[in-house]
């Protein structure tokens, strides 16, 4: 293709052509995952706390609390950490909130861009691998205490089952057989699920257990915000089954949270 004058669309594609982040990079618009080395003061930015994901009979569930903290202070009470990334998958994030949310936005556009350009969705594993690449790109920031650790869950249409992926700060990607958690309350959430989790649970059962795990995490970890019925703040829970991504309604969450908190007493 010959060079066109400045006006109009650019018809050439950056290689390999279907990647949105490569496109941004070729335009010089990619987000910078860097801060100047050794700043004089340590950086403090709001951090998200507990997120978790689990498999169940019909697919996967992924959820998180709503709080972001900055040191000993609560920075935001109603932050959202669980996002559907496309029709068949969702991502949840723990760690530096500002970076995490940008990462989610880039990830979602990447999946949609690929789908539109290629006419078909990326495989679930392809999506997880791409997310791992985004995490790894943030490694320089992680060394300065600004780490982001996502969780990824989705329905694998080829294998006809739900899958959960956890990540570490260097971009390691691990598929979990049962459940995974990330963030400051992750240890408590996992401890709760270790005894409460059973294979082949129904949707009602898994919603109850995941809510229980979030309540347990909030009980011990000061940074995690439990369900706050007085203010009407409830965790976000998203289930993904053969039919796609579905958000659990506030009414249902209120009901489950009320029971969970009564039992936790």
């Amino acid at each position: 293709m010959t060079e066109l004058p400045q006006w109009g669309l650019s018809l050439g594609a950056p290689t390999p052509g279907a990647s949105f982040s490569d496109l941004l990079e070729s335009l010089g618009l990619a987000p910078e995952w860097k801060v100047p080395a050794s700043p004089t003061r340590e950086l403090h930015a709001p951090e998200g706390t507990t997120v978790l994901a689990s498999r169940y009979r019909d697919g996967v569930i992924i959820g998180g609390d709503r709080q972001a903290t900055e040191g000993h202070l609560i920075a935001h009470r109603r932050i959202r950490k669980v996002y559907p990334s496309d029709r068949m998958s969702a991502v949840a994030v723990a760690g530096t909130a500002g970076l995490a949310l940008e990462m989610v936005r880039l990830f979602s556009v990447e999946l949609e861009h690929y789908e539109k350009i290629e006419g078909s969705m990326l495989s679930l594993e392809g999506k997880a691998n791409f997310l791992a690449r985004l995490v790894r790109a943030q490694l320089p920031l992680a060394f300065q205490g600004l780490a982001v650790v996502p969780l990824f869950a989705g329905y694998d249409r080829r294998a006809d089952l739900g899958r959960v992926y956890t990540f570490d700060v260097v971009g390691g990607r691990y598929e979990e057989h049962d459940y995974g958690a990330a963030g400051s309350g992750a240890v408590q959430a996992r401890a709760y699920l270790r005894t409460a989790w059973r294979p082949q649970m129904s949707e009602d059962q898994i919603i109850e257990r995941v809510m229980g795990a979030l309540v347990a995490a909030a009980d011990v970890d000061v940074a995690t915000g439990g369900p706050d019925l007085r203010r009407g703040i409830l965790p976000n829970l998203v289930v993904i089954d053969r039919g796609g991504v579905r958000e659990i309604s506030d009414d249902r969450l209120t009901e489950v949270a009320t029971t969970s908190m009564r039992e936790g007493r």
Binding site: P5, W7, L9, R105, V109
Partner: protein, 229 residues
């Protein structure tokens, strides 16, 4: 350098336009019409994998007739432009008019600067939000941009198709009825057995992405009803 023969600009434009029109006339046409819940786009397409209609953004769809590789290049460039704009600013800042203008400029430049013009015609549809009307923008090989209402057809037989459709079209058709009407007009225009359909809608609903392809059984049912009556 050999100065070559002098060709008047009028002659040059006429030749190029004729060349492009001939190329487009060889391909099959596409029509779009508004219905109760949005916009329906319908094409005759024998295969299932080479799409002529596709999603560009949340409420925007693209259709192209003519040379496949040329409108496919434009389609991808449009998606890139839309996704970059939406990522840098907001998803609300991506509009059909902005995209159509970019397509129109690109085609205009190609028409006058390149060795051969693109043999394509494009249609960009946008679903209106909050009571705003839907938009149907038609862009021809030389960059001419036209806005349609209710019914739009592009391609070699656009005039006959559009005319046939406008006679029987009314506002607020249900999807099934709109689909049957479109297929019927196609059949009457072509006067030959039709081999396969491609159809998609931009549909008002709770989902952010309004584009939906109409799949096999839905199309076959409509087709059987339309062609038998």
């Amino acid at each position: 350098m050999n100065p070559g023969f002098y060709v008047t600009p009028e002659q040059l434009v006429r030749d190029r336009a004729e060349f492009a029109r001939k190329g487009i006339a060889r391909g099959r046409s596409i029509l779009a019409m508004e219905y109760e819940k949005g916009v329906l786009m319908l094409a005759e397409n024998p295969g299932g994998s080479l799409h002529k209609i596709s999603e560009v953004y949340d409420r925007i769809a693209f259709a192209g007739v003519g040379r496949y590789n040329e409108f496919e290049t434009l389609r991808k460039a449009g998606i890139r432009q839309a996704d970059v704009m939406g990522y840098l600013y907001s998803r609300d800042d991506v509009t059909a008019l902005g995209l159509a203008t970019a397509f129109s400029q690109t085609l205009g430049v190609i028409f006058s600067h390149e060795t051969k013009p693109f043999e394509v015609e494009l249609l960009i549809c946008e679903l209106g939000e909050n009571g705003q009307p839907n938009q149907m923008l038609q862009i021809s090989y030389d960059g001419t941009l036209l806005e349609g209402r209710g019914v739009v057809a592009i391609g070699g037989k656009a005039d006959i198709l559009g005319e046939g459709l406008r006679e029987r079209f009314r506002d607020g058709l249900e999807l099934d009825a709109a689909l049957r009407l479109g297929m019927k007009v196609f059949a009457e225009t072509e006067r030959r057995p039709l081999d396969g359909w491609e159809a998609a809608v931009l549909e008002r609903g709770p989902a952010r992405r309004c584009f939906r392809r109409l799949a096999g059984p839905e199309l076959e049912r409509a087709s059987a009803q339309a062609l038998s009556s």
